[in-house]
C-alpha cells in the first residue's frame, strides 16, 4: 500500500540523528523561509548552512498570517511574499536543498497545505526529495488527512509540544510524530533571546518519559554558547530567527553571514554543556 518516493540521495532524519548520537553530539537544524532574501539567495544560504555543518534544514513556507512568529521571521516572510514566492517555488527550493545531501523538511502553517491539497502536497514534497513537514499550528487531533498522506508517502511528520502541554498531550503528540519531536521551549513567538529557556530541560525530561523519538529544541537560540547549553539536554538544536536576522542585517552578504553563524552553532552542538 505504501508508496515511498523518497529520493535515495538524501539520508533520512532518523539516520541523521543516529549518526550524531554515535558521534556524541546533538544535531543542528537550521531554518530559513524559501524566497528570502530571494529565491536564489535562499538556496545559496542553505548551501552555506550545509557546508558549515548544519545537519537538517527547515524550509519555511512564507505565509500571510504567521501567528507563531515574532517580528524577525514575519519580516522575512513578508519580503519573500512581496518577491512573489509561490508554494510551487517552495517545493523547488526543497528539491535544490535536498540535492545537497541532507534531509530537508518544510516548516509551514496549515492553510497553504490544505489549499494545495494535502495528498497532492505530500506526493509533490516526496517527489522533490523532501523529508517531511513541521506544522506549528496543526495538532494531531486535526491532522487526520495529513497523517494518512504522510503514511502513504513515508514522509516524516513533526508536531510541536509546549511547556504548557499536559503529560497526556505530550503522549498524544509524540505518538503522532515521526522523525523527531519539536519542543517549543518558551511560551511565546519565535525570536532570538538573550537567555535560553529555563523550563526546557524539564520539558525534555517529560517528553522522554513518553517517547523514544529524538527531541529537538527550538525558540530563542542565537549563538554557539546557547547551542552548547541546549545540546546538553536536547537531541537537536533548532535555529531560525538568528539566521534570518543575519540576512536582514546584511542582505548583500547573506550566505557569508549565515555560514559564519552556522559554524559557530555547529561547534556549539559539538561541545555539550552537561
Amino acid at each position: 500500500m505504501s508508496e515511498r518516493i523518497i529520493q535515495p540521495s538524501a539520508p533520512g532524519v532518523g539516520a541523521t540523528f543516529a549518526k550524531a548520537k554515535e558521534e556524541g553530539r546533538s544535531v543542528l537544524i537550521g531554518y530559513l523561509p524559501a524566497g528570502f532574501p530571494s529565491y536564489d539567495g535562499a538556496i545559496s544560504a542553505f548551501r552555506a548552512m550545509v557546508d558549515a555543518g548544519v545537519d537538517i534544514v527547515e524550509v519555511g513556507l512564507p505565509y500571510s498570517d504567521p501567528t507563531m512568529d515574532g517580528p524577525t521571521i514575519q519580516a522575512a516572510a513578508d519580503q519573500a511574499l512581496r518577491g512573489g514566492i509561490r508554494t510551487k517555488d517552495v517545493l523547488r527550493t526543497v528539491e535544490a536543498v535536498a540535492s545537497f545531501g541532507i534531509p530537508a523538511l518544510v516548516m509551514t502553517y496549515w492553510n497553504p497545505i490544505e489549499r494545495y491539497g494535502v495528498e497532492r502536497f505530500a506526493h509533490d514534497l516526496a517527489s522533490a526529495g523532501g523529508a517531511g513537514l513541521i506544522t506549528p499550528d496543526l495538532i494531531p487531533e486535526e491532522a487526520g488527512e495529513w497523517i494518512a498522506a504522510s503514511d502513504a508517502t513515508g514522509l516524516d511528520r513533526v508536531f510541536l509540544v509546549a511547556l504548557s502541554s499536559t503529560d497526556e498531550r505530550l503522549r498524544i503528540t509524540a505518538d503522532a510524530c515521526r522523525g523527531f519531536v519539536y519542543a517549543a521551549s518558551v511560551m511565546g513567538v519565535t525570536g532570538a533571546r538573550a537567555q535560553t529557556s529555563k523550563g526546557a530541560p524539564d520539558l525534555i525530561d517529560r517528553v522522554r518519559e513518553v517517547t523514544d523519538l529524538p527531541i529537538g529544541v527550538g525558540l530563542g537560540v542565537s549563538n554557539g554558547d546557547q547551542a552548547a547549553e541546549v545540546a546538553g539536554y536536547a537531541d537537536a538544536v533548532i535555529v531560525g530567527s538568528a539566521f534570518v536576522r543575519r540576512i536582514l542585517d546584511a542582505p548583500d552578504e547573506a550566505a557569508a553571514g549565515v555560514g559564519e553563524l552556522a559554524r559557530d552553532l555547529a561547534a556549539g552542538v559539538r561541545r555539550r554543556v552537561l
Binding site: P66, Q74, N111, E114, D137, L160, A162, V186, M187, V189
Partner: protein, 415 residues
C-alpha cells in the same frame, strides 16, 4: 407578560461536537502552547453556565448595567416603504451602543471566575475594543487592545475612548495593519501571557471554544426577539435578518430560531464595491474553505492559501474570515448568505434615519438593506425581525463623506 430576564444557556442542540466542530468547520488550528488554555476555558465555561451564581450575576449585570433586554421595535414607517412588516431588535440602545456588550460582560466575568486579572482584545473600528475596555473598567481588570495602525488613525476617537477607560492601546504595524493583523498580534501575545491573561475575542470566530462561547453570550438577542415576537404577534416571524462580519450578532440572533424551520434566516455580508470587483468582504459568498485564526471556515484567500485583504465601508464587517458555525449553516442550507454593497448599505442607512429617526451603525445598515430585498420577496403579509446590532454615532464621518454633508472648510482630509 413573557419573562424576559436574560437566561444563559449553552446551545447544545446546535453544536458544536466536543472538539468544536460543526461538520467540517471549526476545530483548533493553533500552536500547542495554547491548547491547555483553550481546554481550561472550555471547562470553565461549562462550569460557569451550570452555576446559578455565575448566570444570576451575569443576568443582573445585563439588566442593571447594559440595559437588557433590548426592545423589539415595530418600525411602521420603514415597513411602509419596505412593503412588509419590519421589527427592529434594538441592540443599538444597549450600553456602549451595540450587541457587543453582551459578549464582553460574559467573557470578562468568566475571566474573573478563572482567577485571571487581565484581558487582551483585538479591534477593527474600535467598537469591540471600547466594549472590552468598558467591561474591564467595570470589573477591575487590566486591559490591552491591539488595533491596526491604519485603524488607529481612521478611528482616533475610539482610541481616546479606550484610553479614557484605562486600557492600553497598541498600534499594530505588521501585515496589512488592520483587523486581521491585530488578531494575529493578540494571538502572539496570548501565547506568552496565557497564565494570567484571557484573550477576549470579539467575534464568534477563533479556535474552539471561542465560537461557541461568544455565541452563547450573544444568543440572548435571539432568545429575547423570539419571545418578544410571540408576545407581539402571537406567532413567530417569517424571517430574521442580520449582518455578518465575523458573525457574533448574527449567530446571536439566529441561534434561538435555528430549530424553528418556518423561520428563514438571512445573513448579509459586506459586498464592498460589489463582490464581482474583488473589493469586498463577502467571505461565504465568494471565499473558499480554509483555516484562519484557529478555525476552519470560509475565507478570502488566493490560490496558494494566502489571505486576501477584505474591503468594506463598514470597519466592523471588514474581515476576510467568518465564524465556523455560519459556514456550517450555509453548507446545510439552514441560513442564506448574500452580499450587500456599500452603496446599498448607505442607501438603507439614510432610509432608516429619515423614516424612523434611528441612525444605525453602517454594519447594521447592511442588515436593513438585505431586509428590504427579503421584504419584496416575501410580500406584505410577512414579518421580518432585523437585528439593529449597533448605533451609528461612530459612523458620522463616513456618512459625511458619502453624502457630502459637511460645509467646505471642515471637509478637508485628516479626520
Amino acid at each position: 407578560m413573557t419573562d424576559l430576564a436574560p437566561a444563559f444557556t449553552t446551545a447544545s442542540t446546535t453544536g458544536p461536537d466536543p472538539h468544536g466542530h460543526w461538520g467540517r468547520f471549526g476545530g483548533r488550528f493553533v500552536p500547542e502552547a495554547l491548547i491547555a488554555a483553550l481546554d481550561e476555558l472550555d471547562v470553565a465555561r461549562a462550569e460557569a453556565f451550570a452555576d446559578p451564581a455565575f448566570t444570576d450575576e451575569l443576568s443582573r449585570m445585563s439588566r442593571e448595567y447594559a440595559g437588557l433586554p433590548s426592545l423589539l421595535y415595530d418600525a411602521t414607517r420603514l415597513s411602509e416603504v419596505a412593503g412588509a412588516r419590519i421589527l427592529l431588535k434594538r441592540e443599538d440602545l444597549n450600553h456602549t451602543g451595540a450587541h457587543k456588550i453582551r459578549n464582553v460582560l460574559g467573557q470578562a466575568l468568566l475571566t474573573r471566575r478563572m482567577g485571571k486579572t487581565r484581558v487582551i482584545a483585538e479591534t477593527g473600528a474600535g467598537q469591540h475594543g471600547v466594549a472590552t475596555a468598558t467591561a474591564a473598567a467595570y470589573l477591575g481588570l487590566e486591559c490591552r487592545v491591539y488595533m491596526g495602525e491604519e485603524d488607529t488613525r481612521r478611528q482616533a476617537l475610539n482610541v481616546v475612548r479606550m484610553r479614557m477607560l484605562g486600557a492600553e492601546v497598541v498600534p499594530v504595524r505588521s501585515g496589512s495593519r488592520t483587523l486581521k493583523d491585530a488578531m494575529n498580534d493578540a494571538l502572539r501575545e496570548w501565547v506568552a501571557t496565557v497564565d494570567h491573561t484571557h484573550y477576549l475575542i470579539g467575534s464568534a470566530a477563533g479556535p474552539h471554544p471561542f465560537p461557541a462561547l461568544v455565541r452563547d453570550f450573544c444568543r440572548g438577542i435571539g432568545d429575547e426577539a423570539r419571545a418578544q415576537s410571540l408576545e407581539l404577534l402571537g406567532r413567530l416571524p417569517d424571517a430574521v435578518c442580520a449582518c455578518v462580519g465575523g458573525g457574533s450578532n448574527s449567530i446571536g440572533i439566529f441561534t434561538a430560531f435555528v430549530p424553528d424551520e418556518s423561520v428563514r434566516l438571512y445573513g448579509f455580508e459586506a459586498g464592498g464595491d460589489g463582490f464581482q470587483t474583488g473589493r469586498h468582504a463577502a467571505t461565504i459568498t465568494a471565499g473558499q474553505v480554509g483555516v484562519l485564526h484557529g478555525a476552519r471556515s470560509y475565507l478570502l484567500q488566493d490560490e496558494d492559501g494566502q489571505t486576501i485583504e477584505s474591503h468594506s465601508i463598514s470597519a466592523g464587517l471588514d474581515y476576510p474570515g467568518v465564524g465556523p458555525e455560519h459556514a456550517f449553516l450555509h453548507d446545510t442550507g439552514r441560513a442564506t448568505y448574500a452580499p450587500v454593497s456599500d452603496a446599498e448599505a448607505m442607501e438603507a442607512f439614510q432610509l432608516l434615519t429619515r423614516t424612523e429617526g434611528i441612525i444605525p451603525a453602517v454594519e447594521s445598515a447592511h442588515a436593513v438593506a438585505g431586509a428590504l430585498k427579503v421584504a419584496k420577496e416575501l410580500g406584505p403579509d410577512a414579518v421580518l425581525v432585523v437585528n439593529l446590532s449597533g448605533r451609528g454615532d461612530k459612523d458620522m464621518d463616513t456618512a459625511a463623506r458619502w453624502f457630502d454633508l459637511l460645509d467646505e472648510p471642515a471637509a478637508e482630509e485628516g479626520s
